[in-house]
């Protein structure tokens, strides 16, 4: 049971709003100590896993070109474009984006969108511009709309990607079950991602529709 103390450190750290990097490091050291590992082994394990997972941080290479385009008015242009489309509402825009994200992820094209490359420069400013037309003018409202843009990207990705046969999670499930003598084809697994994908579209779509209604009611 003692090895779970690291989880306690994390919960406590996040509740107390201590810098998460510190919290995570302390949690790792505490967990290692509780498991009877010596400190050097834990530091080496942290270092190895950090090095093996560098690909997670590769996404930042898009920032120079995104920043450069912002310098020349990319966000402003995205806003103008949405403002000129009469039928564009924030709900319709985000729902369209989510369905696009689900369909492309279901075809294995996870990487064609994301927070750094599409949400910050394009989707979020467009969503804010649409919401402004609908009467959302305060900074607090704009922050909520930007958060919703990021949420919509995540939800579209998560509940689309497992329909694709060769996505990491489907391969993980297949490999795991194989170890227990259960042989399944990837297709037999991925078809069962479809009901949840449809439910996600309906639930999130309903929330986006209500967002439009709320803005219209004011």
């Amino acid at each position: 049971m003692l090895v779970l103390s690291g989880i306690g450190v994390i919960v406590l750290g996040f509740v107390l709003r201590i810098n998460p990097l510190l919290v995570v490091t302390v949690a790792a050291l505490v967990t290692g100590w509780a498991a009877g590992l010596d400190a050097l082994t834990v530091v080496a394990a942290l270092g190895k896993a950090f090095n093996d997972n560098r690909y997670v941080s590769v996404i930042w290479i898009v920032l120079p070109v995104i920043g450069l385009l912002e310098r020349y008015g990319l966000q402003e242009r995205a806003r103008t474009l949405i403002s000129s489309i009469h039928a564009a509402t924030v709900g319709r825009l985000l729902l369209t984006y989510m369905i696009f994200r689900q369909l492309t992820a279901a075809a294995g094209l996870n990487a064609i969108a994301g927070h750094a490359q599409t949400v910050r420069p394009l989707l979020a400013p467009m969503a804010v511009a649409a919401a402004e037309k609908q009467g959302a003018t305060t900074d607090a409202e704009h922050q909520k709309i930007r958060a919703m843009a990021a949420a919509t990207d995540n939800i579209g990705l998560f509940f689309g990607e497992d329909i694709f046969l060769a996505v990491a999670s489907i391969l993980l499930i297949k490999g795991f079950l194989e170890n227990y003598g259960i042989l399944l084809s990837p297709l037999a697994l991925s078809v069962w991602a479809i009901p949840t994908a449809i439910a996600a579209t309906l639930i999130h779509g309903f929330r986006l529709w209500r967002l439009d209604k709320r803005l219209a009611a004011r």
Binding site: P20, S57, P64, V65, G73, R146, A150, L172, I173
Partner: protein
């Protein structure tokens, strides 16, 4: 073969350039902290494999100390003001979208085409890394297009990149750190302990309770680990296989596939899934670090209920 080493070199050069620019930024009181932070990340990207496990571990501890004790601060490189941007947007019009869309279009083309390109039988691009290689290539193409079209001052792209990267700040390495924590958890056997605990508390003889224990367990343990992939083997071995599949004769494909998606509902609700939840909050400059999570909970919870009902209704016919 173009693979991870190319991608890491590219990333390392970008981080190194940002570290140098940080060191030269006299307007930033914390410029040496910033330079050290991005410089260490550059070292990790360029020479991580040569540092050894312990060397990398020490590098991690220094990165954490710099960020955790406030040595890293947001910089404000000179950029254009709002009126200039509006004027520039009017001048360039929709052409501004061309370099921005070059990144996703290249990712699309690369994912579809790279697997068919080989030189003398050897694939040009490492088949496991087509996504990242396409991303890097897309960035280079977008930069080339933007430079020709916009004629920016020298270093403008790197300074603008530094502006955005400093806005993200230390959170930029949080996803990688959480992955590292997962490595330590695995070494310490955290998963086994959690699995035993969960299987001990599942009530006997009630199918719905057993299904709910699996889907809720997936969501909760994913929230702790920040990653459904880490929760899946633990919960499935502890609850799904012994109880749902062998005990009640459920269909393993349905249970496992929807079980994983129940974990994804947990991913939407946790700061531990930093790259999906915390990083966008910093990228979008939200005051509330948990703003994205708050926007997601009202979708995640009903979806978790539906996942539970789907397994209950479909897997045991």
């Amino acid at each position: 073969m173009i693979g991870l080493s190319f991608i890491y070199s590219f990333g390392g050069i970008v981080f190194a350039a940002i570290a140098l620019l940080s060191a030269h930024d006299r307007a930033n009181r914390k410029r040496w902290g910033n330079a050290a932070f991005w410089g260490l990340l550059a070292l990790s990207f360029l020479g991580g494999n040569a540092l050894g496990d312990l060397g990398n571990g020490v590098l991690v501890l220094v990165l954490v100390a710099l960020a955790g004790f406030g040595a890293v601060g947001r910089s404000h490189p000179a950029t254009t003001d709002a009126p200039t941007r509006v004027a520039s947007a009017a001048k360039f019009g929709n052409r501004l979208f061309v370099p921005a869309l070059a990144i996703p279009v290249t990712a699309l083309a690369g994912t579809l085409l790279f697997k068919h390109v080989d030189i003398g039988g050897l694939p040009l691009v490492d088949p496991k890394q087509t996504t990242l290689v396409s991303l890097a290539l897309g960035v280079l193409i977008a930069l080339a297009l933007a430079s020709v079209m916009l004629r920016p001052p020298k270093l403008a792209a790197l300074q603008e990149g530094r502006r955005l990267l400093d806005a993200v700040g230390w959170a930029a390495v949080l996803p990688q750190m959480l992955a590292a924590l997962g490595g330590v958890f695995a070494l310490a056997g955290v998963g086994e302990v959690v699995g035993q605990g969960v299987s001990a508390i599942v009530p006997d003889g009630n199918l719905f309770a057993a299904v709910a224990a699996y889907t809720l367990g997936m969501a909760l343990f994913t929230m702790v680990m920040g990653n459904a992939f880490a929760a899946f083997p633990v919960m499935t071995a502890a609850v799904a296989l012994p109880l749902l599949v062998h005990g009640y004769g459920g269909n393993p494909a349905i249970i496992a596939a929807i079980g994983m998606l129940s974990g994804f509902c947990g991913t939407l609700c946790t700061p531990m899934a930093a790259n999906f939840n915390i990083v966008p909050a910093t990228l979008l400059e939200l005051d509330d670090r948990n703003g994205v999570i708050k926007a997601q909970v009202a979708t995640a919870l009903p979806l978790l209920v539906i996942n539970t009902l789907l397994i209950y209704g479909l897997a045991f016919r």
